[in-house]
Structures are given as structure tokens and as C-alpha cells.
């Protein structure tokens, strides 16, 4: 589903953010991406979401070569991705419902379909009863779940999350991770960047570890291995 082939990313400052990274993520796989800050996690996600382009190497997503993606095609490419942000990026000038409906509005979905899908997505994250509220009154965990509902409302094939549990307590974090696992169980390919090693270890999934821009670990770790 996702293939990185010898990907290099050098920023204009001369900093090498990724160095010859090759990896393969299968359809319906759930993978964690870990590493210290500055190790290249964010860069890898930016390449995957077409925010940045690789300096060398190629990236294939669902058979599509991102190097050949023209700027005008990027919006359409992104509609196949669900993106969850660390700071959830909700808009506080509109209701929970309208926040979740955003990707559908952007894609030009008809009204009835929007209502149906938004409620389905909110139901999955357990926030159906809060659709009319402004996200600003919700707790941190609830806000993140609204962010997840927004990411999945378009039924994307791939779900990408950048530190989705960054600001949450352990119990809420575990709930959020379980939510991702639930989506993965119905066939969505999930890639979660996180530095919460303890939580990752408990999930018993494949882990990719980056260090100084290089992929130094790829496998399903025991508790000890994840700490290295």
C-alpha cells in the first residue's frame, strides 16, 4: 500500500531529514513509527501527505507515484488519506458536525450523504451526542476523537496520525489507540507516529524506528526492544 524506495530528504538548510529510507507497508497493516524528535518522523509523514517532496527516491501510495503528482493533483490525492494531527486542528468557529463534515464538503458530497456519513463517523468515536456543540467546550480526548472522526469520514484507505496521543493521559491514549486498531480491523491501513513507547509495546504491532533520518529498526518488538 505504501512503499518508500531509497528516499532521501534534504531541506534547503542542508539538513538531511531522511537518509535512504526504504520501507513497505501492506494493505490493512497497522504500523507505528517511532524515534526521537528530529529523527525524521514528521518528515516521513510530510512526504506521505505530499506536504513535502523527496529529494531523491520514490514513494508509491496505492500504486500512485507521488513524485509524478502535479500540484493540482495533490488535493485529490489527499482525499484518499485520513490525517490525524497532534493538536487535532479543529476549527472553533463551527460545530463538531461541521468540523467532521469538512472533508466531505471539500470533496463535494451531497447533503444527505454528508449527514449520514458524519453521524456514522461520530458514532464510531462515541461522540454522536455532541455533534451540535462547539469543539472548544470538549475535553482534550474528545477533541482528538473529533479529529479522528474527521479523518475517517471520507472512508480513506489509509489513516495517518502524527502523535495523536501527545497531550493525553495514559488511559485516554489507550482508548485512542484502540480506536485506530478498530479502524485497522475493518481494513484501513494505519500509520501512527508516536513516541509513547510503552503504549506502542502494548499494542504488539509492527514498529518502524527512525534515528537521525535512518530506519534503524523494523519489526514487532518485545517490551525491551522498543526502548532502544
Amino acid at each position: 500500500m505504501i512503499t518508500f524506495d531509497n528516499v532521501n530528504k534534504r531541506y534547503e538548510s542542508g539538513q538531511d531529514a531522511l537518509v535512504r529510507v526504504s520501507l513497505e507497508i501492506e494493505r490493512a497493516e497497522m504500523v507505528f513509527l517511532t524515534g526521537h524528535s528530529g529523527a525524521g518522523k514528521s518528515t516521513l509523514l510530510k512526504l506521505l501527505t505530499a506536504i513535502e517532496r523527496p529529494t531523491r527516491g520514490s514513494i508509491l501510495v496505492a500504486g500512485q507515484n507521488l513524485n509524478r503528482l502535479r500540484n493540482g493533483q495533490i488535493p485529490y490525492y489527499r482525499r484518499n488519506l485520513g490525517i490525524v494531527f497532534q493538536n487535532h486542528q479543529l476549527l472553533f468557529d463551527r460545530s463538531v458536525f461541521d468540523n467532521v463534515a469538512l472533508p466531505l464538503a471539500v470533496a463535494g458530497c451531497n447533503k444527505r450523504e454528508v449527514g449520514r456519513r458524519v453521524r456514522a463517523a461520530l458514532d464510531k468515536v462515541g461522540l454522536l451526542h455532541k455533534e451540535k456543540q462547539n469543539p472548544i467546550v470538549l475535553s482534550g480526548g474528545e477533541q482528538q476523537r473529533v479529529g479522528i472522526a474527521r479523518a475517517v469520514v471520507n472512508k480513506p484507505a489509509i489513516l495517518v496520525a502524527d502523535e495523536p496521543t501527545g497531550n493525553l493521559d495514559p488511559q485516554l491514549s489507550a482508548e485512542i489507540m484502540q480506536l485506530f486498531a478498530d479502524f485497522n480491523a475493518v481494513g484501513v491501513t494505519v500509520l501512527v507516529a508516536s513516541h509513547d513507547l510503552e503504549l506502542i509495546a502494548r499494542m504488539k504491532r509492527r514498529v518502524l524506528t527512525l534515528q537521525a533520518g535512518q530506519l534503524i529498526y523494523d519489526g514487532i518488538p518485545s517490551r525491551e526492544a522498543a526502548y532502544t
Binding site: 489527499r78 486542528q89 469538512l102 472533508p103 464538503a105 463535494g108 458530497c109 484507505a157 484501513v188
Partner: protein, 312 residues
């Protein structure tokens, strides 16, 4: 697995997005009534200036339309010419098919008129003899330049005439003055349209800055640039439209205020002239023109600033 929507569906949702954005831009416009009104008023004042100048010009042309193109030929006769010869010359001219009207002004009449008009009555009375010649004022039938010139030439050739003054100058001056006014108002309109454009560009730029977060998020969930641009373009149209409407109101108010004095003035000259106000054409022209300016301004702003807001 992605959201597939049919072509008809897309067309429908594209239309409904346009409708929504148009309605939303109106909502946003009235959500901050003071700020919006100020921007619209700036636009209105900038547009009212050339519009009222233009309207003034139209009214001026209407007012002078009565005299327009009716040149006069003044034929100054030799001082030595005898009265009877002058009379017969005048009669000959009256019979000329090229001349519509002949008015004879005797030296005595001319002197009396000059005394009255100049206020030099006593000084002139001190002169021994009347220095003024007899004058024939002619109104030619044909007013084209060539015909006039040939008529004037014929008059010059007559033994009776001392000099012939073709009174075209003021007609030309009037035409030139009108042309000057037209160009001035066109230049002013161009300059102030540029001003309106800049006002809209700046206002929309602020809107874009205020909605930066939103733009980033919708771009990340797959919004095209056209989708992001749309609400701002409608906002630009909104500012322009209301600016144009206000401009029309300003001009109409100005005309209403001036109508009384102008009517009084023209009736004192025995004319039934009255100011014509900015009609429906002005209303349509101002609102549509301003809305177009708003759209162009908004387009310039989004072209520059929305590209710059990319997820990092």
C-alpha cells in the same frame, strides 16, 4: 474505499457550494457591520467622485445643448458705408439661402449697448464721434465648418465689409472644455478604480490572514485551490456591490440636494432646465462595475496569498 460521487452529484454540489459561499460571504459581511460598512464606504466615496463628475458633465451638456452648433457670423461694415447701402446689403443677405437670420445693429445701438455693458458711459460720452461701426449679425442655415468658411469668405469679399468674425471659437472652446471634462473624469475614474482595487485587495488579504488556520486544515483534507478561493472571491464581490450601492446613494443624495438651487437658477434665466439624477443605468453600472472591481481585487489577493498558505 474512498468517497465516490457521480458527475451529476459533483455538478450539483459545486453549484450548492457556490450558493453557500455567496450566502456565507453576505453573512460575514453583516457579521461585522461596522468594519464592513467602513470598507464599503471607502469604496463608495472613491466611486462617487468620478460618477458625480460624469453625471455633472452629462447635465452640463444637456444644459448647453440648446446653443450647441449654432455659430454666429459678425460682419463689421465699413464706417463710411451709408445707411441706405447698409440696408440694401442687409436685405440682400436676408434673401441669401445660406443665411437664416440677419440682425442689424446700428453704430448707435452698438454704442448704447457697450455703454451699458462696460459701465464706461461717461468716458464714451466724452468722445466726439461714435467709434463703433455698424454690425450685421448672421445666423447661417448650414453649420458645417466648410460651408461656414465659404460663406465667411463670400462676406469678406463684399465691398461693404471691413472684417468678418466667424464666431466659432466659443463653440470649439465649449467642445474642448467638454472633452477635457470627459478625459478628466475618465482619468479620475481609472485612478479611483485602482484605489478601490487596492482597498479590496487589502481587505481580502486581512480576511485570508484571519482564516489562515481554516485554509491550512481544508488544504490538508484535500481542498483544491478553487475551493479555498471561492469564499474570498464572493466576499470581494460583496464589498464591491455594497460599495457601488452606497456610491449611487451618495450621488443621488448630492443631486437631490442640488436640484432645488439649480431649478431656481434656471427659472431665473427663464429656462425649464432641471438636473437629471443618477437613474437606473447608474445604479446598475455602479453596482455591477464595483462588484467586478471587488471580484478582481479579491482575485489578486487570493492569487498572492492563498498560494503562500501551505501546510508545513
Amino acid at each position: 474505499m474512498t468517497a465516490h460521487t457521480g458527475v451529476g452529484d459533483r455538478w450539483h454540489s459545486w453549484l450548492s457550494h457556490h450558493r453557500e459561499m455567496a450566502a456565507e460571504s453576505l453573512r460575514r459581511f453583516f457579521a461585522t457591520p461596522l468594519a464592513s460598512a467602513m470598507t464599503a464606504l471607502v469604496i463608495a466615496i472613491a466611486l462617487a467622485l468620478p460618477a458625480s463628475l460624469q453625471l455633472g458633465l452629462v447635465n452640463f451638456q444637456r444644459a448647453v445643448a440648446g446653443w450647441d452648433g449654432q455659430p454666429q457670423i459678425s460682419v463689421f461694415l465699413h464706417k463710411e458705408a451709408r445707411d441706405s447701402a447698409v440696408q440694401s446689403f442687409a436685405d440682400k443677405l436676408r434673401a441669401d439661402p445660406a443665411i437664416a437670420e440677419v440682425t442689424y445693429i446700428s453704430p448707435e445701438d452698438a454704442l448704447a449697448e457697450f455703454q451699458q455693458a462696460s459701465g464706461l458711459g461717461d468716458a464714451l460720452a466724452g468722445l466726439g464721434a461714435n467709434p463703433l461701426p455698424a454690425v450685421l449679425l448672421l445666423r447661417p442655415r448650414d453649420v458645417s465648418g466648410e460651408q461656414l468658411e465659404s460663406l465667411a469668405q463670400r462676406l469678406r469679399d463684399s465691398a461693404m465689409t471691413d472684417s468678418v468674425v466667424l464666431d466659432m471659437a466659443w463653440v470649439q472652446r465649449l467642445a474642448q472644455l467638454t472633452e477635457l471634462g470627459k478625459r478628466l473624469s475618465a482619468g479620475l475614474a481609472l485612478l479611483l478604480a485602482l484605489g478601490v482595487l487596492l482597498v479590496v485587495v487589502n481587505t481580502i488579504r486581512l480576511h485570508i490572514e484571519n482564516r489562515r488556520e481554516e485554509i491550512l486544515v481544508v488544504k490538508l483534507v484535500g481542498a483544491t485551490d478553487a475551493f479555498v478561493r471561492r469564499p474570498f472571491l464572493y466576499s470581494g464581490i460583496c464589498y464591491g456591490f455594497f460599495g457601488g450601492l452606497l456610491a449611487w446613494l451618495l450621488v443621488a443624495t448630492g443631486v437631490a440636494l442640488l436640484a432645488g438651487p439649480v431649478a431656481g437658477l434656471s427659472s431665473s434665466y427663464g429656462s425649464a432646465y432641471s438636473l437629471s439624477g443618477p437613474g437606473i443605468t447608474y445604479l446598475l453600472g455602479l453596482t455591477a462595475g464595483a462588484a467586478l472591481l471587488g471580484l478582481i481585487g479579491a482575485w489578486l489577493a487570493v492569487a498572492r496569498h492563498i498560494k503562500a498558505i501551505e501546510p508545513k
